[in-house]
């Protein structure tokens, strides 16, 4: 019998869309194909990714977000109070339609629940509920209504809370509320935490937030005040620098450890993944480590997505075998870590 379980494999949320779906999305936007045809292709692509994750042995699955474009815009499109603006660039040749708050924002219907139910119906392994956090939706939108960032964020927090509760009611044990914008303005980390407290209030699931591409060194340890059970962090992109800080100021929650770069065509070696995991094991126990890519893989092709996921699973398999770590899944319940914030300096 294995004494310790841990190093669970998962992913941050999105996967590369197959070419036929990319074309269908373009055709649908231009009115050349009906909703039903797009929906059929999105479901087919979702099923394909669920099967793939099962086949390679991922522990906690995602639906791959075949039906979403930009992570903030997708939610804004489904809520009252938003208009969708024109394209803006995020980096390189990548662009997104940025939402504009033109009225009080609120949820009018469940947004992701049917997709989650569909994905979960395809597998017996747990599928994560995937939400974009209130701070990030607000930060990545224009505001022509509120004039107060706090009011905007907190209205969104109430909407995302309702969505998270519906996911749990539908059976989700793991709910991820992405806040990639959280590490950009240190002075607003308390607002991120305040909003997340609304989102996770009474949420009977393992709550995760994902943060990436910010100034982690400055955001740490304040980021620990965000009331979630797990913080998922991009680590490969910054060569695991942050782990060193955990030696001085202990990480108080479970971690989602990004071990492959999502912005590179190059496929990491299994050795690279093993190295990242072992660095993390120097500062955290295996049962508080989830292993995944740095961020969503939607910018990669299907082939690159598959290759990166395979090296993650293989890297974990190798470390588990070497160290005798089991793969039995955690319960998917709130943990003590949710309310364990930044350690108070002695």
């Amino acid at each position: 019998m294995t004494a310790v379980n841990g190093l669970w494999t998962t992913s941050v949320g999105s996967f590369g869309k197959p070419p036929e779906l990319l074309k269908a999305r373009t055709d649908h936007a231009a009115g050349r194909i009906p909703d039903e045809e797009l929906d059929r292709l999105e479901r087919a692509a979702t099923e394909r990714w669920i099967r793939f994750q099962e086949e390679i042995g991922v522990d906690i699955l995602v639906d791959g977000e075949m039906y979403r474009g930009d992570m903030a815009t997708y939610f804004a499109e489904e809520m009252a109070g938003f208009e969708i603006g024109g394209l803006v660039r995020s980096y390189g040749n990548r662009y997104y339609r940025k939402p504009i708050a033109v009225g009080a924002v609120r949820r009018t219907h469940p947004i992701t629940v049917e997709w989650w139910k569909y994905a979960q119906s395809l597998t017996s392994r747990p599928v994560k509920g995937m939400l974009t956090g209130p701070y990030t939706i607000a930060d990545w939108s224009f505001d022509e209504h509120y004039g107060s960032r706090r009011e905007f964020v907190l209205d969104l927090a109430r909407a995302i809370h309702d969505e998270a509760m519906d996911l749990v009611a539908a059976g989700a044990r793991f709910v991820q509320i992405d806040e990639p914008a959280a590490s950009a303005r240190m002075e607003e980390l308390p607002l991120v935490a305040e909003a997340m407290a609304i989102v996770t209030d009474g949420l009977e699931a393992h709550a995760i937030t994902h943060i990436c591409y910010g100034d982690f060194m400055r955001a740490y340890p304040t980021m620990l005040d965000i009331p979630v059970d797990q913080i998922d962090l991009e680590m490969t992109n910054s060569d695991f620098d942050l782990l060193e800080r955990f030696r001085d100021i202990p990480f108080t929650k479970a971690i989602g450890l990004g071990v492959v770069d999502v912005h590179s065509h190059e496929i990491e070696s299994v050795d690279d993944v093993v190295r990242g995991i072992k660095l993390a094991l120097e500062v955290l126990p295996a049962d508080r480590i989830f292993v995944d890519p740095d961020c969503g893989l939607k910018t990669r092709t299907v082939e690159e997505t598959e290759a990166k996921m395979r090296v993650i699973v293989e890297g974990v398999r190798r470390v588990r075998e070497e160290l005798g770590i089991g793969s039995e899944l955690p319960e998917g319940r709130p943990t003590e870590g949710r309310h364990r914030g930044a350690p108070i300096p002695a």
Binding site: G86, S90, N93, F142, H263
Partner: protein, 376 residues
């Protein structure tokens, strides 16, 4: 009195127009066009952007930063001593840059921006400025762990001084040094010293009789905590301050030496809501009133790059900016008073809800409006 961009402009198309640049990237990736073919795609977009600025009444003009993957990579990839590394968020935006990693002291080997400036200048009779990210910002945002921030920053200052000289020698009339990382200095005395020293080295040979006007731009936040001694130490001819993300930069405006120009970044470049021309005009007039500066040394600009907006909103904003600069130049005239919200004119006009000059003022204005021969 003038209006100008900070630098970058959306590379996305206006609604309903084809997105040729995005298609060009795809063609380049698939090998359907070569580097020259891709440059031609960029050239076409730069022509459009120059036309939009001209028609909005802006001058000096920019190329919209179209050729830069990001402003840091644009310089760092052609300086000796850097490798290009992972993605990082640019300040608090949802726009990213690839972090340069210094592997030795950076060194200038050849002009980087000169051909790009020449191309843009060839498209117009108006003055075209060239942006260069400053040594402090490049050194602060780069990964300098191997070489050290101070060594990298000061070497960069000397390297970029050669770039500034190459631009000046090519006839570039206005160079804008972008030092957004000045907002990170705060009260740190070592960083203040490094900023000052870097600017001195960067501007060696500039100022005085040299024809080229060199301007310092600071956007993305407040820089006033760094102090006037730090910000105004080097002999820049003018300063552009972000007054939206950095409202405390008004303190710097108020304390800037009167013989130096001020460009008020008072148009919100990060929100789609259209600004009011009254506020822009007020900003220009206030900056002109400080230290006896006068309107001739004042300009208006967006608060930062307009690339954070969709193209149609950016276009609407620069039209407003051009109009505000035109009106601001008419300080004290009836045309200005009639063109703006009466609440921004005087208490009498505000009460009437329309421009309502006093009888005496109306008589003066009527006299001023008469042709010169009638007055004689």
């Amino acid at each position: 009195m003038f209006a100008t961009l900070v630098g970058a402009y959306p590379r996305t198309p206006l609604p309903g127009r084809p997105f040729k640049l995005r298609a060009g990237y795809g063609q380049l990736d698939r090998g359907e066009i070569d580097a020259d073919g891709f440059r031609a795609v960029q050239d076409e977009l730069i022509r459009e952007i120059v036309d939009e600025q001209e028609s909005a009444g802006l001058e000096p003009l920019t190329d919209g930063g179209i050729r830069a993957e990001d402003p840091l990579t644009y310089l760092a990839r052609d300086l000796d001593g850097f490798e290009i590394s992972g993605l990082l968020r640019y300040f608090d935006t949802n726009t990213y840059f690839r972090q340069p990693r210094a592997v030795r002291e950076p060194r200038w080997t050849r002009p980087i921006t000169v051909d790009d400036w020449r191309f843009t200048a060839s498209l117009t009779d108006k003055a075209v400025k060239q942006n260069v990210v400053g040594p402090y910002t490049l050194g602060r945002l780069a990964d300098t762990a191997e070489v050290g921030q101070e060594r990298v920053t000061l070497a960069l200052a000397e390297a970029l001084n050669q770039e500034l000289r190459a631009l000046a020698d090519a006839g570039c009339p206005l160079i804008q040094v972008d030092e957004d990382a000045a907002t990170l200095i705060g009260e740190d005395r070592e960083q203040q010293r490094l900023f000052r020293e870097a600017q001195r080295r960067l501007l060696a040979g500039f100022g005085g009789s040299r024809d080229t006007h060199v301007s310092l731009a600071i956007t993305m936040g407040n820089a006033d905590a760094a102090g006037t001694d730090t910000i105004f130490d080097a002999p820049y001819s003018s300063y552009l301050f972000d007054l939206i993300a950095g409202p405390d930069n008004w303190r710097l405006v108020a304390r800037a030496p009167g013989e130096r120009g001020i460009i008020c970044g008072a148009l919100d470049a990060r929100n789609t809501a259209l600004d009011t021309k009254e506020l822009l005009i007020w900003a220009a007039h206030y900056a002109a009133s400080t230290a006896g500066r006068g309107l001739a040394r004042v300009g208006l600009s967006p608060s930062t790059s307009l690339e954070y907006l969709p193209r149609d909103r950016a276009l609407a904003k620069i039209k407003l900016l051009g109009e505000a600069a035109r009106l601001a130049a008419m300080a004290g005239t009836e045309e200005l008073a009639r063109s703006i919200d009466p609440r921004a004119v005087d208490i009498r006009s505000a009460a009437f809800g329309r421009y309502a000059p006093t009888a005496r003022k109306a008589a003066e204005e009527a006299q001023a409006a008469q042709p010169a021969e009638e007055l004689a």
